[in-house]
Amino acid sequence: MKILSVCGNGLGSSLILKMAVEKVLKSEDIKANVVVSDLGNAKGLDADYIVASPEIAERLKDHKATVIAIKNMMDKNEIKEKLISQINQ
């Protein structure tokens, strides 16, 4: 399973979000490859899920992957609720 973590530059926020997502995945015992990307490149990358802030997620809604908007990237519960519930479906 591949998860893209996306922000405007692919440097700051997306890396923080990736670290948070990896921690949540680990606690749920789910194996996945989480990759950081900037918005421009993300459109051309393959993935099963995309996590990003709401305004970035909005710009990726046409992507093949399931796009999940995370409001507060420090909030592990939000990530758990939105992402893990999608994965477990």
């Binding site: 405007g8 440097l11 700051g12 926020s13 923080i16 490149n41 409001k71």
Partner: protein, 421 residues
């Protein structure tokens, strides 16, 4: 002896290797598996080499820009771009930058552990950029070797806790909580915006009462925004300079196509640099966070500026426009007072202007967002112009550091060096 010689002369003199060693130490300290340590180390080294390749692409475009601009406007013009100036700086200060960044992380953790400023600064690219600025400014001031690295690392570590601390009162207003701090070296501009907002506005009249069209969403794609800005700037400069001047650099190609291709080439260079930076930091920052959490468990994470955008999406747009306006007004003021022209870029005004807008709005509502971000726009126009002389030979590349704290730190250190010097 020959082993020591090999380490000092061969490995430590090669910045890419140094970056790899820093990543390796971080990965080993966070108890990663051998295969993860190996791949993480290699990725960081690859990232540094990619960064250099990006600089090569971008410099081609900037070397055309500088002389065409001067022919058209009879004054030096500079496009501030952190990625560009840092990538170029690596050709001269790569070793110093790598060491200051590595020890800067350590200094941050020590400051957070032993002072009341409990912040772990997780915006790795800004740590990297500040390390490059410190190398250039301290190097130009005459420091070399161990004193340069020690001084640079201590200053960097201090900035990594001081900047989040001075932004914190505003961050509490913005987030309504106390969980996250801002870790971004545009903080002086944001605090100035906050103070301005407090003075002129009323936080009850929030920007979030207004709805804005979504036309400007493209700005969040910073690569696209960079390409568009640079195409427009090249077109204006090209037409002002005229076809004769342009053809000297374009090999006979017309102004329109040449300008479009140069703008796109610049953006392509930035994109390559960004992917290099991403590879360098993709391993180092998580390792740093893990170690930081262990040593300073009660520290607050200091995060990149878009963290505040969801709290006031309209202030983001208001802030961008007001900051950009400040950049244009500032640009017209620079010429008459004899400073180098700083051309406002969409990307720095978007990220720092938006953040300034959110700061201004939190304490001063609509007026606070607009006036605060306008002040930020002026600041990120004047500071880069005043920074150029203290960068030494690095100041002659038609680009410079964009965000406010780089300017303040560079100018203050340059001033101190002159007093002592």
């Amino acid at each position: 002896m020959s082993v020591l010689n090999f380490i000092v002369n061969e490995i430590l003199s090669q910045p890419a290797m140094l970056i790899g060693i820093i990543a390796m130490i971080g990965l080993i300290a966070s108890q990663k598996k051998f295969s993860d340590v190996l791949s993480g180390t290699l990725k960081s080294i690859l990232g540094f080499v990619i960064l250099g390749a990006g600089a090569g692409v971008l410099v081609g475009s900037l070397n055309n820009f500088g002389p065409i601009f001067e022919a058209g406007f009879n004054i030096q013009g500079v496009v501030p771009n952190n990625e560009a100036i840092v990538a170029i700086a690596q050709q001269t200060f790569g070793r110093e930058t790598a060491l200051i960044m590595g020890f800067g992380f350590v200094a941050n953790i020590l400051f957070a552990r032993f002072t009341p400023l409990k912040y772990i600064f997780l915006t790795g690219h800004h740590t990297f950029f500040m390390a490059a600025l410190l190398s250039a400014v301290l190097g130009t001031a005459g420091l070399t070797g161990v004193p340069l690295v020690v001084m640079g690392s201590v200053i960097l570590g201090a900035l990594m806790v001081i900047m989040p601390a001075i932004a914190d009162p505003f961050m509490r207003e913005i987030t309504g909580g106390d969980d996250i701090a801002l870790g971004h070296f545009g903080t002086i501009g944001y605090v100035a915006a906050g103070l301005t907002g407090k003075a002129v506005g009323n936080k009850e009249n929030s920007t979030e009462e207004i709805k804005v069209p979504e036309t400007f969403e493209f700005l969040k794609d910073s690569l696209l925004a960079t390409a568009i800005t640079m195409i427009i700037i090249f077109l204006i400069v090209g037409f002002k300079a005229g076809a004769d001047v342009v053809s000297d650099y374009s090999g006979g190609q017309g102004i329109v196509i040449f300008s479009i291709m140069q703008g796109i080439t610049f953006a392509a260079g930035v994109s390559i640099i960004l992917s290099g930076v991403r590879m360098i930091l993709g391993e180092i920052v998580p390792a740093f966070q893990g170690i930081g959490e262990k040593i300073v468990p009660n520290a607050k994470p200091a995060l990149d500026c878009p963290i505040v955008f969801p709290y006031a999406p309209t202030a983001v747009i208001v802030g961008f426009f007001a900051s950009f306006l400040g950049g244009i007004v500032g640009m017209f003021l620079l010429g008459p007072i004899g400073l180098t022209l700083i051309i406002p870029g969409l990307v720095p005004h978007f990220f720092t202007g938006a953040t300034a807008g959110v700061f201004g709005n939190a304490v001063g509502g609509k007026r606070g967002a607009a006036f605060g971000a306008f002040v930020n726009g002026l600041i990120i126009t004047f500071l880069p112009a005043m920074l150029l002389p203290v960068l030494g030979s690095l100041g002659f590349n038609n680009t410079t550091f964009g965000d406010s704290d780089f300017g303040v730190v560079g100018i203050v250190l340059g001033f101190i060096a002159k007093l002592i010097g």
